[in-house]
């Protein structure tokens, strides 16, 4: 007898819970990730305005940035976001929305989001993707004037150059002792002659190092690949890095 009662109770429990979940899905309008078998993985990010306030966004997660890094929309925009990754598994959470999807190599993920309220929506990577994972963030600006660029962040306090290098995991690719890495070594960099992939040359001064941090793809040193992400390094930290590199003779 007890078996029968347990079985009935279990069935009622399951049906009730299933109903609550189905109701929640219907009433909250949460966009669930959808299986997409007919979209090939893409490696370029883009924002396509299909109609006023209707967007299709191709969003690419890569170590350790999002492409496009900044997106501007007007309030009330509905965005169909297609998500892919160029390298490892990432997690993409647009803070303040229910968009929270995995970017899995080889596949494309999808969800629709409506941006009702103006503001800057932080986008964070929430799946471990390597040593710079904590720096992987993007932003979606939702403002009336969609084209307006965001104000630059206030300059923070300077840190010791060596600590700053470690903070941004620069040393994961750039050695300070002359050994080989993914990027050129910092040892002896300052004042040296740089030969770039396009054949041009320059002498590495302060301006060159600053530019290389802010816009790594501007001058790619010959023999290295253009893989360094643009990271949100505040001016004071850049200054500290430059000063430290100058000491590495």
């Amino acid at each position: 007898m007890i078996e029968k009662r347990v079985a009935i109770a279990a069935v009622i429990f399951v049906l009730a819970l299933t109903g609550v979940i189905a109701l929640a899905v219907r009433t909250t309008g949460i966009g669930l990730p959808t299986c997409l078998t007919d979209v090939r993985p893409f490696s370029q990010g883009k924002v396509i305005e299909q109609a006023p306030k209707r967007y299709e966004i191709h969003y690419v997660a890569r170590m350790w940035k999002f492409d496009p890094p900044e997106i501007s929309l007007v309030p009330g925009s509905v965005a169909d976001i297609y998500l892919s990754t160029a390298d490892v598994t990432h997690g993409v959470d647009i803070i303040g929305t229910n968009f929270n999807l995995m970017a899995v190599p080889g596949a494309v993920n999808y969800a629709r989001v409506k941006f009702e309220h103006p503001g800057d929506y932080l986008v964070v990577c929430n799946e471990y993707c390597g040593l710079n994972h904590q720096n992987m963030a993007g932003v979606i600006h939702v403002t009336e004037k969609a084209a307006a660029p965001p104000p630059p962040p206030a300059a923070p306090a300077a840190g010791a150059g060596k600590a700053v290098l470690e903070q941004y995991a620069c040393t994961a690719c750039h050695s300070v002792d002359g050994s080989a890495g993914t990027g050129p070594t910092f040892k002896g960099l300052f004042g040296s002659k740089r030969v770039f992939a396009d054949g041009t040359t320059t002498i590495a001064d302060e301006e060159y190092i600053e530019r290389s941090i802010e816009k790594p793809s501007a001058n790619v040193v010959k023999g290295f690949d253009n893989v360094m992400p643009e990271m949100p390094v505040p001016p004071a930290d850049i200054h500290a890095i430059v000063q430290y590199i100058e000491t590495l003779k």
């Binding site: 959470d93 995995m102 596949a107 390597g130 993914t182």
Partner: protein
């Protein structure tokens, strides 16, 4: 049929088995010193107390890998095997084949060391979920396989004793503890087959460079086929202690024998066909299959609720035996801080976080709500309530019990010992409060936030998360304090003077209701059910994956955004 109640309270154990159990308890306990210290470092890194990629030469993510592998895989597997030896040996009262058990121990220790070396050298900073295409050193994968195979062999060694006990005791139910441990390890075998396929056929050839690319969606589905039953593999030995030991140390009896058997067998069936609930937010799997597994997931809540009611009834029975009365007044009569019933505190305190963990688990498993909490700090808050709550407290309590009884040594500092689980539980509730609150506002898990999100000097600074991290850190420090006290008591007991000859003495409960329900007296129908449900739940998703031709992924290492040349 009636339940077998032992007519003895202690048995002499062969010296070989005694050594095996003691090594299986002490070896992971030494590693746990590192596993728990890296846990403390996590909260300090995340809140920005340590604002650096590394501390004492150990990278945040390297420490996180060690924390997960040691605490959640090594410590739990070793304890489950050691506890299984003790339960099977005690309740069946049959010797176990020592050669087989030595082989099991050697494989598990060797595998642990093989995985530990690349982790300590920073060559396997892939976290304990080792998602490809992040690649670890091949020794890491080989080591994990050896630990799993060692644990299988430990289980195989119990089967002859089980068979011969049944021949000699026709018409008697398998002892509840033995049924629970066997259900645990049958589930473990079901669970580890898919992950073994993932490691042996996908990851090892790929990490050795024999094949160029790996199918990541397939690897992830095989991993989570294993990943959810894994958590029940942690939980079920703790449930054995809840059903078999807790009512006894509370001063009463187990309310229902049927409830215990039902819970173990139901978990055996329903904890595996649910892995997709870890993959709700992933592409490549259709919503329909995710929903099917959502329903199965809700069914896993059934045995947890059965357990909650049965244990509460047993506690009420015990409290009334101890003079409790009234509708709620009996609660005051339980031995919460009775130094001679210290195991009660370890088990009962875990029930508090078991409650929080269970409720939040139902939230996570609700397909649509998962979009809010997926991969946020909410997730580690939830599973710490489980694996660092009832599982951890039962396992360290069980470790102390086994060491003390097998070596014949008296537990030192008993007055302090009984407070350890309460301090730990207080800490974990505060710790998780911080992570729950942060998680709901989007705080990501597995992130060295001190460098960016909780760093006021960074343009990514998030004040909401900073507050949550301060709360979480206070909780983490309290947990660490409890752990340090436990280690002092554990190793103090281990190195104290022997008081009596060592023997195996386990507390076990008598029964209030010894129901005769044939359906829960045999594994066979439940095993058939498990296989059918697995086929229903997973055939469709695997066919879907096979139909989509995903481009394969070359290996990556955590320090470089470039694909690694695969020679």
């Amino acid at each position: 049929m009636r339940s077998a109640v032992p007519t003895y309270t202690r048995i002499e154990v062969e010296p070989g088995l005694r050594q095996i159990i003691l090594i299986e308890i002490v070896f992971p306990m030494v590693l746990l010193l590192l596993g728990i210290s890296t846990g403390l470092l996590q909260v300090l890194f995340r809140s920005g107390v340590i604002r650096a990629p590394s501390f004492l030469g150990m990278n945040y993510y390297q420490g996180l890998t060690l924390h997960g592998v040691i605490n959640a895989i090594v410590f739990t597997t070793f304890f489950a095997v050691a506890f299984g030896h003790a339960v099977v040996r005690f309740f069946l009262n049959k010797p176990l084949p020592l050669g087989v058990q030595w082989l099991s121990l050697i494989l598990m220790v060797g595998g642990t060391l093989a995985a530990a070396i690349p982790m300590l050298a920073g060559k396997a900073t892939v976290l304990y979920t080792f998602y490809p295409p992040l690649r670890a050193h091949p020794a890491f994968y080989f080591g994990l396989v050896a630990v799993v195979i060692g644990s299988w062999i430990g289980f195989f060694g119990w089967i002859p004793a089980y068979r011969s006990w049944h021949r000699e005791n026709p018409g008697v139910k398998t002892p509840l503890g033995v049924l629970g441990i066997f259900a645990t390890f049958i589930l473990w075998i079901i669970a580890t087959i898919p992950v073994a396929i993932e490691i042996v056929f996908l990851l090892i050839p790929w990490s050795l460079g024999w094949v160029k690319t790996v199918n990541v969606p397939l690897a992830r589905m095989l991993f989570w086929f294993f990943g959810h039953p894994l958590v029940y593999f942690w939980l079920m030995p703790a449930l054995v202690m809840y059903y078999v030991m807790l009512p006894k140390v509370a001063g009463g009896k187990l309310y229902s024998d049927f409830a215990g058997r039902f819970a173990f067998l139901w978990l055996l069936v329903f904890s595996a066909p649910v892995g997709l609930h870890h993959q709700f937010m992933e592409p490549g799997i259709s919503s329909s299959w995710k929903f099917v597994q959502t329903v199965f997931t809700m069914l896993v809540a059934v045995p947890s609720l059965v357990t909650a009611f049965t244990i509460t009834a047993s506690m009420e029975h015990a409290a009334r035996q101890r003079g409790g009365h009234g509708l709620f007044g009996w609660w005051t009569k339980l031995p919460y801080v009775d130094r001679d019933r210290w195991l009660f505190a370890y088990l009962f305190a875990g029930l508090i976080s078991f409650f929080v963990g269970g409720i939040t688990g139902i939230i996570n498993a609700s397909y649509s709500m998962d979009a809010v909490v997926h991969n946020t700090a909410w997730l580690p808050a939830h599973f710490h309530q489980m694996v660092a709550g009832p599982v951890f407290l039962a396992f360290i309590g069980g470790s102390l019990l086994l060491v003390s009884t097998l070596t014949g040594k008296e537990i030192v500092m008993k007055g302090l010992n009984v407070w350890v689980p309460w301090i730990w539980t207080f800490g974990i509730l505060i710790f998780s409060l911080g992570l729950f609150v942060g998680g709901l506002s989007g705080e990501p898990r597995r992130t060295n936030m001190g460098l960016t999100y909780t760093n006021p000097a960074s343009p990514l600074y998030q004040p909401t998360w900073q507050f949550a991290r301060i709360v979480g850190t206070i909780g983490g420090v309290i947990m660490f304090l409890a752990a340090v006290l436990f280690f002092i008591i554990f190793f103090g007991t281990l190195f104290s003077k022997k008081r009596t000859a060592g023997a195996l003495e386990l507390p076990y409960s008598e029964l209030v209701h010894d129901e005769d329900v044939p359906a829960v007296q045999s594994f066979r129908p439940w095993l058939v059910g498990a296989v059918i449900l697995l086929a229903v739940a997973y055939t469709g998703p695997f066919i879907e994956l096979a139909q989509q031709h995903f481009p394969g992924s070359p290996p990556y290492i955590p320090s470089s955004p470039l694909a690694q040349p695969n020679k």
